[in-house]
Amino acid sequence: MTEEEAKKIILEALQGKSAAKSKFYLKDFYAMIPDMKAREVKNIVNRMVSEGTLEYWSSGSTTLIGLKGMGKQHSEED
């Protein structure tokens, strides 16, 4: 599977769930692409954040990841 294909699967999976849930653990992304090694998925997810497709949410102790702009947190920063 190419990186572009993996990104497409991730995006589709997140968009499908975005109404019910906007933030995901890194491990949830591994389940979206079970054939790929966890470390590779992690690198792709981090690149998607750098590219502006996804964004991190951190409590300070744990990090969650979601589609950029989704969820209530953005209203805090407006």
């Binding site: 470390r39 409590s59 744990t62």
Partner: protein
């Protein structure tokens, strides 16, 4: 007086200890911080929290600097109209220099930077060792990060599901007990694992800590998922003349510590030999002997008589895994996994082990499950298989409570499959 009435906080200033309330008031009065209202409103929101007996901070946020997924922690107040100065009050973790050595000039530059871009309030240091900048707004984050990295050559620390800022003791810079160069190890692994430090990689946090000797000045055994603790595999060096000098009162035991009271004459039998946890020492009135095979590195004798007893010369580290200090369930100490490893640059063996463990934890760990909890859930036996290590009696710290031994199929002659017809020929239904 500041803009808020704070009688409960004022009470805290009356105790015998230096008060953080006084420090914040000093910043209110004299600070040159850009976020003018922040320290004053911080006092106000704390007073309100004391009155209401509940926090007025909201938890977490999306803020950060470009390319990093750690080091900045979003904080917001849930009473922004009442306390506008702390409505947005993000925390910045700054990676402390190894062993926290810095010059006054560097500290001034850091403080000036923080006054240009934040509240001026700091926490020196956070529990993981970071220099913590308390309270700024989102628009200041990128300029702060740019100046910090480009002008001060200083990086952010770790937060979230990342590798956290590695921490080490003073090591060989000041301490003759240090069995390896903790600063070099800490610096080397920090650079090696920049990606894991700055971007989330794991199910939860992961901490390295480097103690130069078993005295454990950074408490790696209690606070880190992977503890590097200096040790030696030859014998404690004994200077018998110096032992006699301690016994004769020429040298103060414990290097003069605890000398505020009259404890009487130093008694080597009572204060050293009888306190050895494995009873491996003997004093016959003129000569001290140690059965080094039984020594468990408690460090008591070396601490009491540092001029007479010194660590061995064949030094390295013991590596332990799985400590954590959760508030709810109580602390868990790390477990000895590698009894001895030479710890020399480029630390290849240690890094090989790190990566095996991370791969396993990334695959098997549940969300928010620390490595120590995963080892408990999957068994230490499985963990040793992952690390490609053979079991060793030194890994055992108590008699086992589980009577079962779980074999793998390849360890059993013939495996799990059996010929049912051959079985039935001997055993009727």
């Amino acid at each position: 007086m500041g803009k808020h009435n704070t009688p409960m906080l004022d009470e805290l200033e009356k105790g015998p200890w230096p008060s953080f309330v006084s420090d914040i008031k000093q910043q209110v009065a004299n600070g040159k911080h850009v976020l003018k209202e922040a320290p004053d409103d911080l006092l106000g929101v704390m007073e309100l929290s004391y009155v209401d007996k509940v926090t007025h901070w909201k938890h977490g946020g999306i803020v950060g600097v470009f390319g990093y997924g750690g080091g900045i922690i979003g904080r917001y107040c849930d009473q922004p109209q009442m306390f506008p100065g702390v409505a947005h009050f993000h925390t910045v973790r700054v990676n402390q220099p190894s062993s926290k050595f810095y010059t006054a000039k560097y500290l001034r530059e850091l403080c000036d930077l923080w006054e240009r871009h934040g509240s001026g309030l700091t926490n020196m240091h956070g529990s993981t060792g970071d220099i913590v900048f308390l309270g700024t707004t989102t628009d200041h984050l990128e300029p702060l990060f740019f100046e910090m990295t480009h002008e001060l050559n200083q990086d952010l620390g770790g937060s979230g599901s990342n590798l956290r800022t590695p921490e080490c003791c003073l090591g060989q810079s000041r301490c003759e007990f240090a069995c390896y160069d903790t600063q070099e190890a800490c610096d080397n692994l920090t650079h090696e694992y920049q990606d894991e430090l700055h971007r989330p990689a794991f199910p939860y946090k992961f901490k390295f800590k480097f103690d130069g000797c078993p005295n454990g000045c950074v408490a790696s055994i209690a606070r880190s998922d992977m503890s590097f603790i200096g040790t030696w595999r030859d014998n404690i060096r004994i200077d018998q003349a110096a032992v006699k000098a301690y016994v004769g009162g020429e040298f103060a035991p414990n290097a003069g510590a605890y000398s505020g009271r009259d404890w009487g004459k130093f008694d080597i039998q009572k204060e050293v030999v009888d306190l050895c946890p494995t009873g491996c020492m003997r004093w016959d009135g003129s000569k001290l002997e140690i059965n080094d095979k039984e020594c468990v590195r408690c460090m008591h004798c070396l601490n009491v008589m540092p001029r007479a007893l010194r660590k061995g010369l064949d030094t390295g580290v013991s590596i332990l895994f799985g400590a954590k200090a959760p508030i709810l369930e109580g602390a868990q100490m790390s477990t000895l996994t590698v009894p001895f490893l030479k710890m020399e640059s480029p630390f290849s063996e240690a890094k090989d082990l790190v990566e095996k463990v991370w791969d396993w934890w990334m695959e098997e760990g549940k969300n928010r499950e620390r490595l120590g909890e995963l080892i408990q859930r999957k068994t230490f036996q499985e963990f040793l298989r992952v690390c490609e290590l053979d079991p060793d009696p030194r890994m055992v710290d108590e008699p086992r409570s589980n009577p079962y031994i779980f074999w793998k199929e390849e360890e059993v002659e013939g495996g799990w499959t059996r010929d049912i017809d051959a079985f039935r020929a001997k055993h009727q239904r």
